[in-house]
Symmetry: C2
Amino acid sequence: MRISELDTPVAIVDLERLEANIARLQSYLDAHGIANRPHIKTHKIPAIAQMQVKAGAIGVTCQKLGEAEVMADAGLSDIFLPYNILGPAKLQRLIALMRRVTLSVTVDSEVTARALSSAVSQSDAPAPLDVLVEFDTGMGRCGAQSPGEAADLARLIARLPGLRFGGLMTYPYNEHTQSFVEATRAWLKPEGLSVARVSAGGTPQMWRAHTCPAITEYRAGMYVYGDRYTLQSGAMTLDDCALKVITTVVSRPTVARGILDAGSKVFSSDTLGLDGYGLILEYPEARFYGQSEEHGHVDFSACARKPEIGERVTVIPNHCCPVSNLFDQMVGVRGDQVEGVWQIAARGRVQ
Amino acid sequence: MRISELDTPVAIVDLERLEANIARLQSYLDAHGIANRPHIKTHKIPAIAQMQVKAGAIGVTCQKLGEAEVMADAGLSDIFLPYNILGPAKLQRLIALMRRVTLSVTVDSEVTARALSSAVSQSDAPAPLDVLVEFDTGMGRCGAQSPGEAADLARLIARLPGLRFGGLMTYPYNEHTQSFVEATRAWLKPEGLSVARVSAGGTPQMWRAHTCPAITEYRAGMYVYGDRYTLQSGAMTLDDCALKVITTVVSRPTVARGILDAGSKVFSSDTLGLDGYGLILEYPEARFYGQSEEHGHVDFSACARKPEIGERVTVIPNHCCPVSNLFDQMVGVRGDQVEGVWQIAARGRVQ
């Protein structure tokens, strides 16, 4: 089947570009002695996770337990879950997962660390569980706010039954990351506590990971697909973009306006600070200025030629990750041929 | 099972409020002689569509063929698809659907009308297909731009084989809707073409539908659940809101900041012009100011008491429709008891 025979809207992945993106980041990280632990939240597809591991990744990163369970079911054997796992139901699932894969998690509070310890030490899971301390050097999300706070948590983890202090984790890394890690190491060294892993992430800044020598492992997600945000960051070129959404122009109510058969239910409403909702490859001057759930609102006034009703156009979305979470299937293509269809097995795993 | 035993994040629907919302709009529309044709895009659940029909709705509205197919599978027998259906694959599915249910669609161009006619007249479907003309009195999405243009399309539909001119459709209606319909009627009357249906929609303005006497049928979607946007519009009160998302505070990295275990993968990034991403019922002064895919970023600085790590909080989302599209299941509750779980059967039907 050819791409042109697929009905729209449809999400396609160029397999050649996908393979090249996977190989390129692996080479870069290998060259700098940084372990690769890609984030599967972008694709949510076990087969792509397996491609990443086959290319040299030491394991994968998942953001939710439900995603980790899907990856474990598919045979992925080393999973990092950089999230505070809380509550009896999730702790029970965590224990079950520990029996199946090499698991590591993060905490940023005493409450979470103590609950993990209690759950693990009262179970027959293969303890200890590697627990990293999340720290924050600018994002303002989770994470210890100072090296002293991170060191306190590291000490607590090290002495809690069932747990092992596994290192430090942050997202994204920045110019403060190196000094934060060094200061935390300095606090812990006298007590004989070493920081085995320093895990950082982020696709926009991936090619500079080596400039922060503290980093021992890297979690990138979007690098497999690319999107308009990654393009703007300069980390990828248009030619690297593997994920596209093909849509149809279903209405041309005015000379300037065109309406696509895909809106926020396909692209999400993520702007990531960009103007508009996607780049239309056939009409790069067009402005994808608005969305309803099932309609994309495009201004074609700057385009010399304007599309006809029924014409198909190809969109690079602002943010590739939510697109994976909105479709049930991803179509793999090579050249203009469809090679196969993947179920997006870990989509919608909110718990 | 009690609500408090459900793991988070979880979407719940208060069945008592849902039933009351369905009954209330039905009574209002009945009192004004307006047919009720609720939009299922909000809930995407056949059982709720059946509740709406049982309460008196003449049929349902779907935005995509895939949604209509799910509703037809569940026994819904009268479906309105106010969308330009284009392309051979979709036209084939449309024909298949015509054999199963009473179907009506819209067009806003000659291209779409001719393609529908060609597909229907070359099939053995029970023709004619009712085709309404979409018109635009302000939204700037699809739709004929003037009464003259709408009348031209009506005439074309009336003479194309396999089609019947079914009336006019707009979204949302406003102060220009009445005069647009009257002008279109005036164009068509000398030719003996009557406007059988005038279909309008929108939850925020639903209680004023009777002030636009041209309207013969109403499509509201969000009225079943309610959300922060509907609250702000004044069409529903907090007490009417049936849909809630229960989340857990997983991190309290600073005195002011709390992080929820749900972000844009649960709430979507829709702001609908509102500040922030949801109303936290237990902490109405809190500001849900940011989201990552799996984290909600909340500023609790204005709250006298601040939540502990592990505490559950209940969120009214900005926009209920995308929440239905992000979860796989919706939990029906009555009081503090779980009454059942619905699969959101029509979620993700992008085609």
